[in-house]
């Protein structure tokens, strides 16, 4: 079985169409990194939620513009032990424009790149038409029924994954702090009838939008920063909202409280420039990614985790982001702790955004 992994593969709307065509010709499962809109979220061949398992079964893995081949092709456990994500003998192929540039170990996140059987130095999107043509030419007619059967299996798995995600979202639905799937679904409920654009990355929300929402247009998901930059989301997504403004799209950004603390002045810029954007603060009251990483390391050293919150927790006192936004002229709601209050607050905030102004909703949330 061949599997396709897309990281920053689609540069243009055409890239999405080409990737769909390649996947459909092969009826191959696609794992989307969620770093960009590469592949429609509800396409039957979108197997992102179970891609790690599929990777372990694959005979061939094709990675398009992988930013971090090491983490794709390697599993790392809590003790720091590594093993290949693929079974022995499986072939690893990459098509990446990163190979065209001089490289240092910083670009591999200070890790040595995995051994790859075939590393093609090329732009993935520009290469796809030739690859598709060659695949079509070489696919024997005798494989047609087997390929169709494979597609049906993947379609069924996609439906199953959605049902699994729905049940997972239901668990903890009424919790406070508010769960990520509840927050994402309350947002989707308000925007699904609009021409919306999620301008923030979704990794810190455990990719719940991809798991539950329907999206197939290139601007519906902008993706992430690409270099693990901190303090990116609040200002970068305002830029995306500015770009969306002339198209009349409804821009929404889910920003971490830690991220917003790096450059809160962007709220004043949003108000001053009258850029319509809905900020939702995923307020888990800490630099959460750091907390999780520190827990891993502290426990590995058997120190216990009683000090990992030092410098990482954002509490005592809690920050009122709604008040902060208000002080800079941005309409705001919150902090919201009861999930029942979230939908109405989002509705009021979106009404403000649709009038051409920014708005912010501060949501006291689970970590992930």
């Amino acid at each position: 079985m061949a599997v396709i992994y897309a990281d920053r593969a689609a540069r243009t709307p055409e890239g999405i169409k080409l990737l769909v065509e390649l996947a459909e010709v092969l009826q191959a499962p696609v794992g989307d990194s969620s770093n960009r809109m590469n592949f429609p979220w509800r396409h039957p061949l979108n197997q992102s939620r179970r891609f790690r398992n599929l990777l372990g079964e694959a005979d061939v893995a094709l990675a398009l513009e992988p930013g971090d081949p090491f983490s794709l092709f390697t599993r790392v456990d809590g003790r720091g032990n590594t093993q290949s994500s693929l079974k022995p003998g499986a072939k690893k192929i990459t098509i990446s424009s990163v190979e065209l540039a001089p490289k240092g170990n910083y670009q591999d996140l200070q890790r040595f790149a995995s051994e790859v059987d075939l590393a093609m130095a090329a732009d993935a999107e520009a290469t796809l038409p030739m690859l598709i043509e060659e695949v079509k030419r070489q696919l024997p007619a005798s494989r047609k029924s087997a390929i169709e059967a494979r597609g049906k299996t993947h379609a069924e798995a996609h439906r199953d994954e959605l049902e699994i995600a729905k049940e997972a979202a239901a668990n903890g639905w009424d919790d406070s702090p508010i769960s990520m799937p509840r927050m994402c679904m309350e947002l989707y409920e308000q925007i699904k009838g609009e021409d919306w654009s999620l301008v923030s990355p979704s990794a810190f929300q455990s990719n719940w939008p991809q798991a539950l929402w329907t999206a197939d247009r290139h601007y519906q998901y902008i993706g992430g920063q690409g270099a693990a930059g901190i303090g990116y989301i609040a200002p970068a997504t305002l830029g995306a909202a500015l770009a969306n403004q002339k198209h009349g799209r409804l821009s929404v950004s889910i920003v971490g409280d830690g991220d917003l603390m790096f450059g809160p002045g962007i709220l004043w810029t949003a108000a001053h420039e009258r850029i319509p954007l809905l900020y939702i603060v995923h307020n888990n009251r800490c630099y959460h990614m750091e907390i999780m990483q520190l827990q891993v390391i502290a426990n590995r050293r058997q120190r216990g985790i009683d000090r990992v919150r030092i410098g990482c927790a954002i509490d005592d006192p809690n920050i009122n982001y709604a008040m902060m936004a208000k002080s800079m002229g941005v309409y705001s709601e919150g902090p919201i702790e009861n999930p029942r209050d979230l939908g109405p607050a989002l509705k009021r905030a979106i009404a403000v955004v649709k009038k051409g102004e920014p708005a912010l909703v501060d949501v006291v949330s689970q970590g992930r």
């Binding site: 456990d77 809590g78 959605l162 903890g172 970590g367």
Partner: protein, 121 residues
Amino acid sequence: MRRSVISSVLIGAVIVAATAFAADKPANVARGKQLYMATGCYQCHGTRGEGGGGSGPRLAPGPMPYQGLLIQLRKPRARMPVYTAVVMPDADVADIYAYLQSVPKGKTAAEIPMLKALSAN
């Protein structure tokens, strides 16, 4: 059928015995909840064990067997922090397990119109 019933009873007995052995005294739900928060379980698994998406799977309601949880803590699969007996003694694990067992069942997707309406097509 009879064999599978006997097996289930035996497995259940082993789990109960293991839990009791680990604690030396009845497990304490309130202490387990406090430990669950203090030792950072909630950071990835949610404050009620509801799961944190890709960061940590669901732990409750209906947690995995005690021995499975203990093995996962001591020799974790995937990218979970290792919790040795030095940083989390067996008695603490037993109390945390009791807390997870106490978490009531939540709603199903079919009971939530927003989720029920979602379709793959």
